[in-house]
């Protein structure tokens, strides 16, 4: 089956749309509420559109190829402020790797406004875009076996908050007591795609 450029089959119940602004495309597809579409999931540079057996993948692909991204939700998206104690185990290493002081790292990390591009890795683990490019550092060569819940971290061009204790290879800048994930809460994830985020420095 030949599909429009940038739209790919993902099994017989899904299409994957390549997109520079995946969160914007995902929001636009959600807003269309297309018949037969059961789920829309953004990634870093692609959007999964899952459909049921009633949808014709070729017709759906044609619609998806023409979707324009919704503008980044600077006003419409919910803004969440995350209080952070910047005493992370990797703060000094990140400063050394970037040629900055630790207080510069804290200032740059807490000055930016982020938004959730997509979630993955674990329930409620949100990939936040908007990290100052001066703070881009690679992941740890050897991931930690145990990263505490609430750890605020950076890796590559992303920042994130570990929703629960888990293994992890991101560089730890600090910690928050914000409940990033709560299975019993509606919604369970504090940081869902489209949510805007600011980190606010607090004293321990």
């Amino acid at each position: 089956m030949s599909l429009p450029f940038g739209v790919r089959r993902c099994g017989d119940r899904g299409l994957l749309v390549d997109a520079d602004d995946a969160a914007g495309i995902a929001a636009a597809v959600e807003a269309l509420a297309l018949a037969g579409v059961v789920e829309v999931v953004p990634g870093a540079a692609a959007v999964l559109v899952r459909h049921d057996a009633s949808a014709d993948p070729r017709a759906l692909a044609t619609v998806l190829a023409g979707v324009e991204p919704l503008a980044r939700s600077t006003e419409s998206g919910v803004l969440v402020e995350v209080p952070v104690v910047y005493d992370g185990a990797d703060l000094d290493d990140v400063a050394a790797a970037t040629g900055l002081t630790a207080s510069d790292v804290v200032r740059l990390h807490s000055a930016a406004e982020y938004d959730v591009a997509f979630c993955g890795f674990a329930p409620g683990f949100a990939y936040l875009r908007g990290l100052d490019t001066r703070l881009a550092v690679p992941r740890l060569a050897a991931p930690r076996t145990r990263v505490p819940a609430g750890s605020v971290a950076v890796a590559d061009t992303w920042s994130a908050v570990y929703p629960r204790e888990s293994p992890g290879g991101w560089r730890l800048l600090g910690r928050t007591d914000a409940a990033v994930w709560d299975s019993a809460r509606t919604p369970p994830a504090l940081l869902a795609p489209g949510t805007r985020v600011r980190f606010v420095e607090v004293r321990p």
Partner: protein
Amino acid sequence: MIEVVAPGPLALVEDLGRPGLAAIGVARSGAFDRGSLRLANRLVGNDEGAAGIEALAGGLALRATVPLVVAVTGADGPVTVRGPSRAVRQMPRRSPLHLAADDVLELGAPSTGLRSYVAVRGGIALRRTLGSASFDTMSRLGPAPLAVGDRLPVGCAVLGTPHVDHAPARPAAPALRVLPGPRDDWFGEAGLAALAGTEWAVSPASDRVGVRLDGGPLARARSGELPSEPMVPGALQVPPGGRPVLLGPDGPTTGGYPVIGVVVDADLDRVAQLRPGELLRLTIVR
């Protein structure tokens, strides 16, 4: 109540899972072989999505504390009921079974397949997390794996009385059908030909997160890194080593390795029944 006398290697409460939450990083989870759970539920007059028990291999033993109607589906193998007088009865699979109080239902080692499903009339009534009583082995959402002495409450939600005496076995199919993509271009036509031409062996390191396939390995036609993108159960994700991982219901919702193809929806249940060491062929469909 159902009392767990022995859980076997792994026994989990599963229903039809948590579809629709991948955008916040929650996997579908639920029964790996959804068709077998649905059948077990139909046999005892439950809603198809009621929570039952998914048992890996043999060794599960459950005691009924009150009279219960149950059904066992999925893998094939011996099912016995041991009464308080120690009399042992061989019982069929895919049929409603009547247990008296203190009867113990035991699943023997499967002769074919790997996962069995036990439904109980009324359903297993455990608290739901995000709409489901399923245990997700990766995120640890839902009720913990069953342990000796666990007592599971039985609900009273039924649709009707059981009216099927015995359901036929599912015919064996020779190969899993795979639709190429979304990243088959990373492997080229030669990669797809190798995928279809290889006799893959199911690795013992397989679980509900992914079924690892030994063989090949598949060579990439291009280099580079793929930005993390959404994944689905059934995806054949290919790490740099070239040995595909067929993602299961507890698989990651996003991943950074290219997916050469995805097993068609109708063949997904059979993935749950692949045994370690079993040889497997994949057929490309377009």
